[in-house]
């Protein structure tokens, strides 16, 4: 089914989600992106959600892939870092079916995990680093206390680079825009242990965020798939605290507590999925590694930008203006925050003065950057 044209009405996209499709986070963003793609191309979307051993012990990725293919799926998208082993197994078992592993790096010929044997498995990921920098900046702009907390999921290279990007954004805006001393900026990450809460296995994000607020943070940035951070911040604001939150992943996440939302960096998977679906339909799908930045002309353009930042009601108009200026600098390429001198958390050198980080430097970041409180690994 991979070669030759496909009648677009009979096109089927199989989408495998790790969490619930209505999680107001990571999985919902994928679901809406895939829906967008199928709307454009025609055809049908088959979805299965909560594919993780805790929620669905009887369900594995290869099993779902088999089933979707037997239902006639022409393109399969697996959407979690956690699905790595299953996706590789399925791709090996179905070498002719186009598959995408979102957030992976197996099709990156320069990458560390390149799998040249899996010819039909591609990767897509948005350059969320930008979204996170903007989030960090918004946090620093709005924070009165200079005490910013990051609700981290699990620790790996992806989360390290996202936390670090956030910190870089925050540090820049704290120092340069607000003109304050970096020593007055406290930036702390606490990890829950997984992308979302699993009772008895992960830390409870609700407790973590409450603790952030109790220890004086006034901006909480979420890095997990679900919305606990903004929900708890909203609750705290209701009881009179000056607290804001920046959720993650899903454009609509601010709606959980609009008043405290400074904005949300989100994925807009639709255009990428649409592009890939079209190559499948046209019969010229080629597995590749796509790490796609925003459409700098309009980050929030649904038809073109892979990631975006939707400002929230909580951001003051002054800060909003400053944030726009920050975004403008990023867009123009005037500002590269991933540029030396940068040190690792333990003080060792990461980038010498003036050196810009390569994609590989960023993608495979091995330790959090200097200035961030919190564990980099468990070793």
């Amino acid at each position: 089914s991979s070669s030759g044209d496909i009648d677009s009405d009979s096109f089927k996209l199989g989408l495998i989600l790790v969490g619930p499709q209505n999680d107001h986070g990571w999985s919902q963003a994928h679901f809406e992106g895939a829906s967008y793609a199928v709307n454009k191309t025609g055809g049908e979307l088959i979805t299965i959600d909560k594919v993780n051993p805790a929620d669905s012990p009887n369900v594995t990725v290869p099993q779902i892939v088999d089933d979707m293919i037997s239902q006639g799926a022409n393109l399969i998208v697996a959407t979690s870092d956690d699905m790595k082993d299953g996706v590789l197994e399925a791709a090996a078992a179905h070498p002719d079916t186009p598959m995408i592993w979102a957030s992976g790096d197996t099709a990156w010929s320069d990458g560390e995990d390149y799998r040249s044997d899996l010819k039909s498995l591609g990767n897509v990921m948005g350059k969320m680093e930008y979204g996170k920098m903007i989030a960090g900046c918004a946090a620093a702009l709005q924070s009165d206390t200079g005490n910013i907390s990051y609700l981290g999921p699990l620790i790996n290279a992806e989360t390290r680079r996202l936390v670090s990007s956030t910190y870089l954004g925050a540090k820049y805006c704290w120092e340069t825009v607000k003109g304050k001393s970096v020593s007055d900026l406290k930036f702390k990450v606490t990890w829950i242990g997984f992308w979302f809460n699993i009772p008895g296995v992960t830390q409870d994000p609700t407790v973590v965020v409450n603790d952030f607020i109790a220890s004086g943070s006034d901006v909480i940035i979420s890095g997990i798939d679900t919305t606990e951070a903004i929900v708890v911040a909203g609750q705290a604001a209701d009881s009179g605290k000056a607290v804001w939150a920046i959720p993650y992943d899903y454009e609509g996440a601010c709606s959980e507590a609009a008043a405290v939302c400074l904005g949300v960096p989100y994925f807009n998977w639709g255009p990428s999925y649409h592009k890939i679906a079209k190559t499948v339909i046209d019969g010229n799908f080629k597995a590749s590694f796509e790490w796609i930045g925003p459409d700098w002309d309009d980050m929030n353009n649904h038809d073109s930008s892979a990631i975006g930042f939707m400002k929230g009601d909580g951001l003051t108009s002054d800060n909003s203006k400053s944030l726009d200026e920050f975004i403008e600098k990023l867009a123009k390429g005037d500002l590269n925050l991933w540029k030396g001198p940068l040190n690792y958390q333990d003080g060792s050198a990461f980038l010498p003065d003036g050196k810009e980080a390569s994609d590989k430097d960023i993608w495979y970041l091995s330790m959090l950057l200097e200035g961030i409180e919190g564990a980099s690994t468990t070793e």
């Binding site: 830390q203 407790v207 109790a214 909203g234």
Partner: protein, 314 residues
């Protein structure tokens, strides 16, 4: 830890306090309601769904209580009338209610909805130290204090409370004194179930707002463990809940130092429960239980003698 952090401990543990007090009452009457985890899930879902639909938090809490109270009645009926094993029925209901909550709650996942509003108590809340911890909370939390105090008073100092203990302690003696054993068991199982349900609803309306699958984070099982750790004594049980809340936070604080262990700390109620059981079954300790009066009762705790046994009149 600053007062604000300790205040979180209190509010986080509050649903647990409701559930633990509820189950303590049920067990005092001689019935084990093992379905807590499922009951709390279903009532968390119901509580949120009703509040969401009606916009009224109180209605949601009541609905959560009622649904859980009905599950408890199934257990009472199966053990008293049908003479089924309470444990078996409890386990079946746990799994059933958990799945049912996920199914029925699918349209309410991650929706923002109403929540219990904070209410600082003017004078008490300003007491330095404990004021911000205990009295800058909301009505639900204050009700949990009252509940603990009330049931402490009720169980140990009232006529009805004494009858409740009598029923779980020695039903045939209770019967001989004119107490309608099975009627009380139905009543206290339902009442206990209601409080468990309030705990579930309190969770989704106050602690972790909204609804998602598996929302209550094992609180049902933890509550069962704390009932034992609490020695079937309302005040000690409540302290057990707060200790659990504290452990959650300690776990977070320890993360930078012991990232591996910090993840494991939340299971501590279970080894504590086992140790409590070993402790109270130890012969020397039993001697203490029998010798000492109020203090011994508080420190050692003991299960109602007729816990889990059914009663049939002559």
């Amino acid at each position: 830890m600053n007062p604000e952090t300790l205040a979180i401990v209190i509010s986080y543990a509050t649903p647990l306090v409701f559930a633990v007090i509820g189950e303590t009452i049920t067990e005092k009457a001689g019935v084990v309601n093992l379905s807590l985890d499922g009951s709390m899930l279903l009532s968390a879902m119901t509580g949120f769904a009703v509040s969401f639909t009606t916009g009224n938090v109180v209605l949601g809490l009541m609905a959560g209580g009622l649904i859980s109270s009905n599950i408890a009645l199934v257990i009472a009926f199966s053990s008293i009338r049908l003479r089924l094993n309470q444990i078996a029925v409890g386990i079946v209901l746990t799994l059933f209610a958990a799945k049912l909550s996920a199914f029925l709650g699918q349209d309410f996942v991650r929706k923002p909805g109403p929540s219990v509003q904070d209410l600082h108590i003017p004078v008490l809340g300003d007491i330095p130290g404990i004021g911000p911890i205990l009295f800058q909370q909301n009505l639900l939390v204050y009700s949990s204090y009252i509940l603990v105090g009330f049931f402490f008073w009720f169980i140990f100092y009232t006529r009805q409370g004494l009858n409740l203990q009598a029923v779980g302690e020695r039903p045939e003696a209770a019967y001989a004194r004119g107490i309608d054993v099975n009627k009380l068991r139905y009543f206290y199982t339902a009442l206990g179930g209601f409080l468990v349900g309030l705990g579930g609803a309190a969770f989704s309306l106050d602690v972790k707002l909204g609804w998602s699958d598996g929302h209550i984070a094992n609180f049902g099982w933890i509550a069962l463990a704390i009932v034992i750790f609490g020695g079937w004594h309302p005040i000690r049980a409540a302290l057990g809940c707060y200790l659990f809340g504290l452990l959650q936070l300690v776990a977070l604080k320890l993360q930078p130092l012991f990232p591996q262990l910090s993840q494991v700390l939340p299971i501590i109620p279970f080894p504590l429960m086992i140790m409590t059981l070993v402790f109270i079954n130890h012969r020397k300790i039993q001697y203490l239980i029998l010798r000492n009066n109020v203090f011994g009762r508080f420190i050692t705790g003991r299960a109602p003698s007729a816990l889990g046994e059914s009663f049939q009149r002559l």
